[in-house]
Amino acid sequence: MRKYLFSLDHKVVGLQYYLLALTALIVAVSLSVLMRLRLTWPEDVWPLFSKLLPSAFNNAGQMTPDFYLALMTMHGTIMIFFVLTIAPQAAFGNYFLPLQIGANQMAAPRLGQTSFWITTLAFCILITAFFVAGGAPLAGWTAYPPLSIISSGTGHARGMDLWLISLAVFSIAAILNSLNFMVTILEHRTSGMQLMRMPLTCWGWMATAMISLLAFPVLLAAGLLLLLDRLIGTDFFTPNGMIVNGQIIDLRQGIPILWQHLFWFFGHPEVYLAILPGMGVVSHILATFSRKPVFGYRTMVWATLAIALLGFLVWGHHMFVAGISPYLSMTFSFLTLTIAIPSAIKTLNWLGTMWGGKIRLATPMLYAIGFVSLFVTGGLGGIFLGQSSLDIYLHDTYFVVGHFHLIMGSAAVFAIFAATAFWFPKVFGRQMNEDLGKVHFFLTFIGVYAIFLPMHFLGIAGNPRRYAEISQFIYLNQLQPLHKFITIAMLITVNAQLLFFINLITSTFAGKKVNENPWQATTLEWTVTSPPPKDNFSEPPNVCRGAYDFSLPDAAQDFLMQTQADSMVAEDKPVEPK
């Protein structure tokens, strides 16, 4: 019990977070399968499922549009918070941050354990929303008032309250976890591990922790105010003259758009929170498998921090259609497009890292390249959406769905795959099956493009998002075959994920045994045994060089561990500025 459930070992906490994220991933993807099925074959009846959740189906046994919206809300919420926020940061970070900076533990082990259990509690609260009177909320993961303030009826009752409570609890856990990360990075680096010698993964985690500390309190405050609006009838966000069930609610003075400002002030940094650790992991893997130093390490660090900072200045681009002033829109457009600069720096540096390298196409590398590809494709969609004039047309269409699923959903999940395959040997002392991994990579890579690229065309053709079915609209009927194609592609891709899980489980017990540094990487986690001993380092390692000394001209081997002193390498001229 103490050893596994409530262990203070950062490695156990990391694994716990990872398992929670995997569970959440399975739930969330299942929900999206249900959505696609409803969207593509709206007439279908669901005899078995309708017994399980009778309120979600009409008398004929078809899924109600309300339930479709509930699925959408829960899919988004679970994916964004319980997969993309915790897997790259809390799961891999808790496990590998201390190992990479040469610490024996996180700064506050008990705090890390507590935040994991608070997160789990938040997840349970969220899932409970499906089973209370009124069912799961249907206001979307953004929960815009006034829709989210209505407190009775399907999808508006207790489920919405539970949703808000869950997010408030989650915010607290995220803040605590980030505190732990910040202090660990600033105070627990081993001797010689200067900030500018840290692996880029650590920079990603640090930037993410900073973002969490600044963004989650806003979500917490906004969520609590909205909860008060719902529970005790304050009017922070409740507008005057709202009509609910045919009755006018008057004498209210709330301002609904305030929620959008607060929510997106949190919500946009949240996007970067999901992607920045992934960027760190990908930089790390690209360098290791190209056998070259990261191209422009310093610019990578500054680009990471620039993205983190700019993330706080662009929230308005989610609100172009909310009736904000056109001048404000223009400002936000401009700021949004400036994010393309650090993003392009990163992309070019990734290509520069690979350019002329001795590339080893192992599975982690494939996933990392997949990440770069998806990031570019998804990012290009963002350039369209960042312009307020185009966004007004595209905003409520599938273009947006395709865009953020490519850049935030798929890219971030590819980073999780990459990190899993890369660090698996360290965690279990065994390697994941390469053949299975490659098949999984290609199926998934082609799969996500087949799903999300056509959605851009749906959007340009004017297909609105959030609609449970489109058969009622003549101009959309011709798009139905494309929807069918997307759904079939999705079913294939989702089933391909079984390969990943089979690989994960079989490799844990029967994978090929490897030594402590199978990838010939340079960072500190590869100096200890696999799996790492309980207290990581028997004595504090001494770091003598940057994290990416690959293929130095005069060195005997093509990689130098960070602990290798210059005196041990004949006439070594480090490539990276120290």
Binding site: G102, A103, N104, A107, A108, R110, L111, T114, I175, L176, S178, L179, M182, V183, L186, E187, H188, T190, S191, L213, L214, F216, P217, V218, L220, A221, A222, L225, L228, I232, G233, T234, D235, F236, L251, Q253, I255, L258, H261, L262, F265, P540
Partner: protein
């Protein structure tokens, strides 16, 4: 001497709650190695890498707290500008509680000074006074709520200014409660002479947090009742 202190520190580490504040105090004495830098014996016993300064935790903990209040104040200002309102009359108790909190900050600072000067009895006395004042602040805030309710002003009232008064005082009180837990920990330690001029992390952290909460309250007070 140093081994005795280490032992005490170990017992401290096993106790304590898990809120942000509590976790700081758990590691009270963590940078002891720094303060008694000349003592080589204790340094080898405690490897350099376990050093975690509670003050750094507090610094980073204050950022999200400040932003949490900034978000609510943003809503407050937006409402004020958009709708305007007739502010509620300040309950008399609020003025009293504000004074009490400011004085408590001063007395706590006196306590810290006394500890620095190794005046342990003075330290104990000032901590007792501060804790008493801290509890008095909570009581007067509750009295203020009672005074308002007696006038028929409730949280869901038509007057949004009253709503904000309740929300902001409640949120501030909740955060100050964390400070009170820290203060009781310090009080407990002071009673049993657990602190010394070299071992005062918990005292420093609690005092800083208390000042932070004090400053926050003065800001909220000015916002609610002076700035119109």
């Amino acid at each position: 001497m140093s081994t005795v202190e280490t032992k005490i520190r170990r017992t401290n580490t096993t106790s304590g709650g898990n809120n942000t504040g509590g976790d700081n105090y758990n590691r009270g004495g963590g940078d002891e190695g720094n303060n008694s830098g000349s003592n080589d014996g204790s340094q080898t016993e405690q490897p350099k890498k376990h050093k975690t300064s509670p003050m750094l935790f507090l610094t980073f903990a204050m950022i999200p707290i400040a932003i949490f209040f900034a978000a609510i104040v943003f809503v407050y200002l937006a409402h004020e500008m958009r709708n305007g309102w007739t502010p509620i009359a300040m309950p008399a108790a609020v003025l009293a509680s504000t004074l009490v909190l400011i004085i408590s900050s001063v007395t706590l600072e006196m306590a810290r000074k006394a500890l620095k000067a190794k005046l342990l009895e003075d330290f104990k006395r000032w901590v007792m006074v501060s804790t008493f004042l801290g509890i008095t602040f909570f009581t007067t805030q509750l009295i203020a709520w009672k005074q308002l309710m007696a006038k028929g002003v409730y949280i869901e009232a038509i007057n949004p200014h009253a709503t904000f008064f309740y929300i902001l005082t409640a949120a501030h009180g909740l955060h100050l409660f964390g400070g009170l837990i820290g203060l009781s920990y310090v009080l407990f330690g002071a009673m049993y002479y657990r602190f010394s001029a070299d071992r005062r992390n918990a005292v420093d952290v609690t005092t800083t947090y208390w000042h932070f909460m004090d400053g926050l309250w003065i800001f909220l007070f000015l916002l609610l009742f002076v700035w119109k």
